[in-house]
């Protein structure tokens, strides 16, 4: 059962931030509510006041800007999945979004809410880490950019302050000689393991010039795994393929996998390695194609 709360509906980020500062701990931003209201219905948390940010104009656009895609934090999963701009420029994000939750949750849930809730069993954060994205957080006093590598602090804990509103996600478009994949596995409602891999090849598409590996869901938070990247960086694509098992082992261990109802830590580490290898093979085929 949902206990009574007050609703505030500011029409600017500044007003929202001021409300949040005024209420302190007893207020929370409400976007799609698909996470927040569940937690409140379960009685896990209660807030005296919810600040509906959906009346603030301009927070759900998807725009190209100087080699980046700027995604409004209030864009719903469904908007992202249906965006022609993203279908053309960042199909890996569209494919990931199509497989988030179910249709009704995608219809209402937002990307900003997904990231800020920092639920470990989620997809977008892992992909955004491999895409080297950043988010913009704004409050009454100004705005700042937070790189994804500094965004997730712990399970259910993101680096967004209480009176900050996440306004945008800024994603650099991958280069023409780069390929990106997100692969996940799960048999419950939410994903059990997710990996993202970004490989930028040299101009002749023979070697790995740069690489980003990210792992999510298996432990408390999504993270980049630089140690696994180091194994692959600078190698020919052939040699990198041979060393994927090693990189996968490192990524599996680095993910801080925990044993829970999704599976044992050992099992999840194995799945990470398998998914990463599959992602690499697909990327290699794309780069060759």
């Amino acid at each position: 059962m949902l206990r009574p709360f007050r609703l505030e509906e500011p029409d600017s980020v500044k007003a929202a931030s001021e409300s949040l500062a005024r209420y302190g701990d007893s207020a929370k931003i409400y976007a799609g509510g698909t996470e927040l209201l569940l937690a409140m219905k379960e009685g896990l948390v209660h807030f005296e006041c919810l600040v509906n940010v959906k009346k603030i104009p301009g927070l759900d656009g998807i725009d190209l800007d100087n080699g980046n895609v700027r995604i409004g934090a209030l864009s719903t999963h469904r908007q992202l999945e249906r965006s022609e701009t993203l279908q053309e420029k960042l199909p890996v994000l569209v494919e990931m979004e199509r497989n988030v939750a179910n249709l009704r949750v995608r219809e209402v849930g937002t990307l900003g809410g997904n990231l800020t809730f920092a639920e470990p069993h989620a997809d977008p954060g892992t992909l955004l880490l491999a895409l080297d994205a950043a988010v913009v957080a704004q409050k009454a006093g100004g705005s700042r950019e937070i790189p994804m590598t500094e965004f997730f602090v712990d399970a259910y804990d993101a680096a967004v302050e209480e009176d900050e509103v996440l306004t945008e996600i800024v994603v650099p478009l991958p280069a023409a000689n780069a390929a990106v994949r997100y692969r996940k596995f799960g048999y419950l409602e939410r994903p059990s393991a997710g990996v993202a891999l970004h490989v930028m090849a040299d101009a002749r598409r023979e070697s790995v010039q740069d690489v980003r590996v990210a792992v999510g869901c298996v432990g408390p938070k999504s993270m980049r795994v630089e140690e696994a990247e180091a194994v692959l960086r600078g190698k020919s694509l052939e040699e990198a393929a041979q060393r994927m098992a090693e990189a996968g082992d490192i990524a599996g261990r680095a993910g801080d996998a925990i044993s829970d109802l999704h599976g044992s830590a050992e099992y999840k580490e194995h799945i990470v390695k398998v998914l990463l290898t599959r992602a690499f093979n697909d990327i290699r085929a794309e780069l060759a194609g």
Partner: protein, 162 residues
């Protein structure tokens, strides 16, 4: 703001073509307003956590879990529940297809299945079997094993009788 100190919000919306002007508190859920205040009990509460789809209603044509959507979100919008599918006493072709192809047993999931199928067919009138399965994967049925639901949706408008 009511004198009691509890906030109320005006809610003007239409449900199945009928306009309502009521007041709701922020925490009232759309499913409760539809079932208890409007007396339309076709929409069901089952999982209560946005997983099963028994509570599906369409808001401006889009499917939502009314078990977890605050009623105020329907302000100035058109809501469609299963009760609004038939017109002039005539069942909707999707309803006809579910009957013809045996798309339900106990019927508890059926309102949500039919409304979700409606949005699918509105978007994509001639879906493949894979498209039906992918689109419908957030609606759970404990009885049919899904095969006949998929057949029903694939069979809409293709029945001998229609």
């Amino acid at each position: 703001m009511a004198d009691s100190g509890r906030q109320t919000l005006p809610l003007s919306f239409s449900v199945n073509g009928t306009r309502y002007d009521i007041e709701v508190e922020p925490h009232e859920l759309l499913l409760d307003v539809i079932r208890k205040r409007l007396g339309l009990t076709g929409s069901k509460r089952s999982c209560d956590v946005q997983v099963c789809g028994a509570c599906t209603v369409l808001v401006n044509g889009r499917p939502v879990s009314s078990c977890t959507l605050p009623a105020f979100e329907a302000r100035d919008k058109d809501v469609l529940t299963i009760e609004g599918m038939a017109e002039d006493g005539k069942l909707h072709p999707i309803q006809e297809a579910f009957i013809e192809f045996g798309g339900f047993q106990c019927g508890f999931c059926t309102p949500g299945m039919i409304l979700t199928a409606k949005t699918l067919l509105d978007e994509n009138p001639d879906p493949t079997e894979e498209e039906v399965i992918e689109y419908m994967n957030g609606n759970i049925c404990r009885c049919t094993g899904y095969k006949k639901i998929v057949e029903s949706i694939m069979g809409v408008g293709k029945s001998e009788a229609s």
